[in-house]
Symmetry: C2
Subunit: 353 residues, 2 copies
C-alpha cells in the first residue's frame, strides 16, 4: 500500500534562512522530506552550507540574490535572518512555511512528536473568524464549534492568510526580558488555535510561520535589518504589523496558537539589546501609526495596499528617524521586485488544489 501523499506537497515551499550546516533537518526529516526547501544563505557567500542527503532544495547566497535582483537586491537584508523574505519572493508555490534552524520538533503533552507543518497546513486551509470572538477558540476543530450567541452570518469565516505557530522551551522574549528572566522557559502547552480579531495588532514571530503567498505574500516583507541598518530583530514584527492591517482591510484572517516547535537556544541578550534598543523606542510610535492607519477603498490588492502603506510610512514615520525614509523606499523596491519575479497569474497557474 502506498503512503498517502503529504498535504500540499507540490504547493508549499519551506523557507530556511541560515548561516550554518542544516543538521537540524535530520530531526524534521519525517515531516519535511517530501517538500521542497528554499534555503537562503546569509553572510559570507563563499562558505558552503551542508544540507543532509535526501532533501530536495534550492539554495541562494548573497551573490545569487544580487545576480537575480540586480540593483533591487538593496531591499533584501544582509547579515540578518530578514533575508528569508527573498525565499518568499522566488518561490513559485501558493504556500510558504518558514522555520529557523534552531527550532526542533516539540512533543505534545502525550509525548508524541508534533508535525508542525501539518498543523500549519490545517490552520491555513480552514477559515478564520476575525469579526467576533469565539470563547471555545477555533470553532472548526474537532470537538469544538461556535458557542451560543455567535452570529450565524459570521460562521462561514474568511480565508486564512497567515498561521502563526508558537515555541516551547526558549520563549521569544526581547532583550530586556531575557536579561531579567534568563532562566524562564515556556513549558505551558496551550491546546488552542485562535483568530486574532480584526483591529488588533500582534507581535508576529518569524520562527515558525506559514502563509498563503497568493493572499498575502507581497506584504510579507521583512524590512531592512542587520548589516548597515540601525536596527535588528524587528523584521518579523514589521512584517506582522503590515500583514495585519492589510488582512484586516482585505477581509483575511490570521491565526495564532498551535503548532509548537521546540526552540533550542536563546540568542545573546547583550547582542540583542544592541540590535533592539532603537526598535524599543520606535515601536511606541509605530504601533499607534498602524492602529490608526486607514487604507483606501481603491486599495483592492495586497500590492496596492502595500504601496499606500509605504507612502504613509514615509509621510508619518520619517520624522522619527531617517531610517523610515529608507525603509519606505525599500518597501516600494520590494513590490517592484516581487512583481518582476511573480508576473500576474503565475502563482495561480501553480495552484493545483
Amino acid at each position: 500500500m502506498a503512503a498517502p501523499t503529504p498535504p500540499l506537497k507540490d504547493e508549499l515551499d519551506i523557507v530556511i534562512p541560515t548561516i550554518r550546516n542544516l543538521d537540524f533537518l535530520e530531526m524534521w526529516r519525517p515531516f519535511f522530506q517530501p517538500y521542497h526547501l528554499i534555503i537562503v544563505q546569509d553572510g559570507d557567500p563563499s562558505k558552503t552550507i551542508k544540507v543532509p542527503e535526501g532533501f530536495d532544495y534550492e539554495l541562494y547566497n548573497r551573490n545569487d540574490i544580487n545576480r537575480i535582483l540586480g540593483p533591487k537586491a538593496s531591499c533584501i537584508s544582509f547579515k540578518d535572518s530578514a533575508c528569508r523574505c527573498f525565499g518568499y519572493m522566488v518561490s513559485k508555490k501558493k504556500y510558504i512555511y518558514t522555520i529557523d534552524d534552531d527550532c526542533f520538533v516539540a512533543n505534545n503533552p502525550s509525548g508524541e512528536k508534533i508535525n508542525a507543518l501539518e498543523q500549519h497546513i490545517k490552520n491555513i486551509l480552514c477559515p478564520s473568524t476575525p469579526y467576533f470572538f469565539n470563547t471555545l477558540y477555533e470553532p472548526y476543530r474537532e470537538g469544538a464549534d461556535f458557542v451560543r450567541g455567535y452570529p450565524f452570518s459570521l460562521r462561514e469565516g474568511v480565508p486564512t492568510a497567515v498561521s502563526h505557530g508558537l515555541w516551547l522551551n526558549i520563549p521569544d522574549y526581547d532583550a530586556p526580558t531575557q536579561l531579567v528572566k534568563p532562566l524562564e522557559r515556556n513549558t505551558r502547552y496551550v491546546d488552542a488555535i485562535l483568530t486574532i480579531p480584526k483591529g488588533t495588532l500582534f507581535p508576529m514571530c518569524g520562527m515558525n510561520l506559514a502563509f498563503d503567498r497568493d493572499l498575502i505574500g507581497p506584504a510579507m516583507y521583512f524590512g531592512l535589518m542587520g548589516d548597515g541598518q540601525p536596527i535588528g530583530r524587528y523584521d518579523d514584527m514589521w512584517a506582522g504589523w503590515c500583514c495585519k492591517v492589510i488582512c484586516d482591510h482585505l477581509g483575511l484572517g490570521i491565526k495564532t496558537g498551535l503548532p509548537y516547535i521546540y526552540h533550542s537556544k536563546a540568542s545573546n541578550p547583550f547582542v540583542n539589546l544592541r540590535k533592539e534598543y532603537k526598535g524599543i523606542f520606535w515601536q511606541e510610535d509605530i504601533i499607534p501609526f498602524f492602529q490608526n492607519l486607514v487604507l483606501p477603498k481603491e486599495a483592492t490588492t495586497v500590492q496596492k495596499c502595500y504601496i499606500v502603506l509605504a507612502k504613509q510610512v514615509k509621510e508619518k514615520l520619517s520624522k522619527i528617524d531617517p531610517y523610515f525614509d529608507k525603509l519606505a523606499d525599500a518597501m516600494v523596491t520590494w513590490i517592484e521586485a516581487w512583481d518582476e519575479l511573480n508576473p500576474a497569474g503565475a502563482s495561480q497557474a501553480n495552484g493545483k488544489a
Copy 2:
C-alpha cells in the same frame, strides 16, 4: 496553625439563581463555604429551597424582589435565570461570582479539582491587556511574560472588570447546534487566560462568571427574559455586549479562559429553540449595532454610559421589534434601582482590600 484566610473573603458574594434545592453546593463546599451566598429564587415563591447546612446565605424570592424594588421590580426577569442580576444589585460587596446550579467542580488534566473561584479572583485582581495581543496569552501568569515586540508602554495593562470562565463536558451551544451535535462534549482543557481585545465583541456566558461591581456592576444587567417576554437565553449575551462596549470606552479589561467548571446537563434543545429563535434573527442586527456604537466623552461612569446605551437601543433597535423599546425602558429602570440600592460611595466603604 490557622488556615489562611480565603482571598477576598469579605469582599465577594456568590450569586446563584435557582428553582431547586442547592445540593450542588456540597461539591463546592471546600471552595465556597467561607464566602457569603446570595440566592435568587426564581419561579413560585411559596416553594422552599433547601440550602446545605453551614453555608452563610441570604435568599430572595419574587415576593422579596417586589417588596424591595416596588414598581421598579419590573426590570427583573421572572421564570428565567436572568433574575440573578437582582443579586448583583443587592450585594454590598466589591466582587461578584455567579454560577449556575448545574455546574460542578471540574478536574484539571492532572486530575486535581479546580477551585474555580480562586482562579477567577486571580484573574480579576490582575490587569488586562486589551490594546495589543500577547501570543503567549496571559502575560502576568507564572512562566509567561510579554513577548518580543510588545510595546513597553502597554505592559502595565488596565484594571480587569470581568473574568469569564469556561465549561467542560456540556458546551454552551445554541439550540440549532445542540440539535445538530447532541453528543458533542467539550473535553479540551485549554490552559490559557486571555484578554478580549478592545473593539471585539464576545459571547459572554453567565454560567461561570466573576466581575468587579465597582468597575462594571451597573452594566451587568441581564435584560428582560422569560415570563411575558418574547425571548430567552440572551440575558448573559446582552449583558456581555453592553459590558464590552462600556469596558472598551472606559479603558477596562475582560478576560476569558480559565477556570473551567463541569457543566453537568444539557438543557432541552427544543425548549431552547423556542426561547432563542427570535434572538437568532435579532442578533444579526444587534451585533452591528454594538460594533458601531460610539459612547460620548462625557460618559465617564458606567451609569452614564448605560443611560446613553439605553437611548441608543430605543432609537436604533426598536425598529426591529417593540421589545427593544420595552428593554430600553427597563435598562433605565435598572439603573434607577441600582442607584437607589447603591448610594454613591457605599460599595467603596466595603472595600477593604
